[in-house]
């Protein structure tokens, strides 16, 4: 049963455009994440929020910015996309902040940059 919802499923855009991805979780969790999964399926954490507070901010280009309106929503904006941004962006949530918590992932948003 899906409890982490991501929109859109797919997005095709051109270099230099701005894109935004949305994520909502209905699990009542306090912590949300954005992961990037590349073509080799490697998972890399980008950001993590706990109750609207940024707690993990990996070394990602400044064109990426997360946005949290409440603990159930975590969006991702990319200003001026680059070809290397083509990937699947996975949103996840967990009950707490520690790395011993189970992650619940959405189905992902696949971004193609032409």
């Amino acid at each position: 049963e899906t409890a982490v919802f991501q929109t859109p499923n797919y997005h095709v855009t051109q270099v230099g455009n701005e894109v935004s991805f949305n994520c909502k979780q209905t699990l009542g969790h306090d912590t949300m994440y954005w992961y990037k999964q590349d073509s080799k399926k490697l998972l890399k954490i980008m950001f993590s929020y706990n109750n609207k507070q940024l707690i993990v901010n990996e070394t990602v280009p400044r064109r990426f910015s997360p946005q949290s309106s409440d603990k159930a929503h975590l969006n991702l904006r990319i200003k001026s996309v680059e070809p290397e941004d083509s990937a699947v962006y996975l949103c996840a949530s967990s009950p707490g902040t520690g790395s011993q918590n189970t992650l619940y992932f959405g189905a992902g948003t696949r971004l193609s940059v032409l």
């Binding site: 982490v4 707690i55 011993q100 918590n101 992902g108």
Partner: protein, 111 residues
Amino acid sequence: QQQVRQSPQSLTVWEGETAILNCSYEDSTFNYFPWYQQFPGEGPALLISIRSVSDKKEDGRFTIFFNKREKKLSLHITDSQPGDSATYFCAAGGGNYKPTFGKGTSLVVHP
């Protein structure tokens, strides 16, 4: 620095065989090891997990064997089914904010 390593990168077995997926780690503070299963077009989902106080965890056809001294663990899938074909990620956690994932093993089960 890759803290969680998985092997093999890909594995093919016949239906009914046992698939063995390996994982090793470097950081001795890791004490929680979940395995995630990912089907095409979906996000990863927790399959089974083990804590470092145990050396074995079973859930149906899926078993984790854990060797704390050698910092190794393995996932055994007995009586493999075509529906088990997926990518399996070994992950590790130990108190920091970032779960650490391996690069995954792509499993194909032929009928």
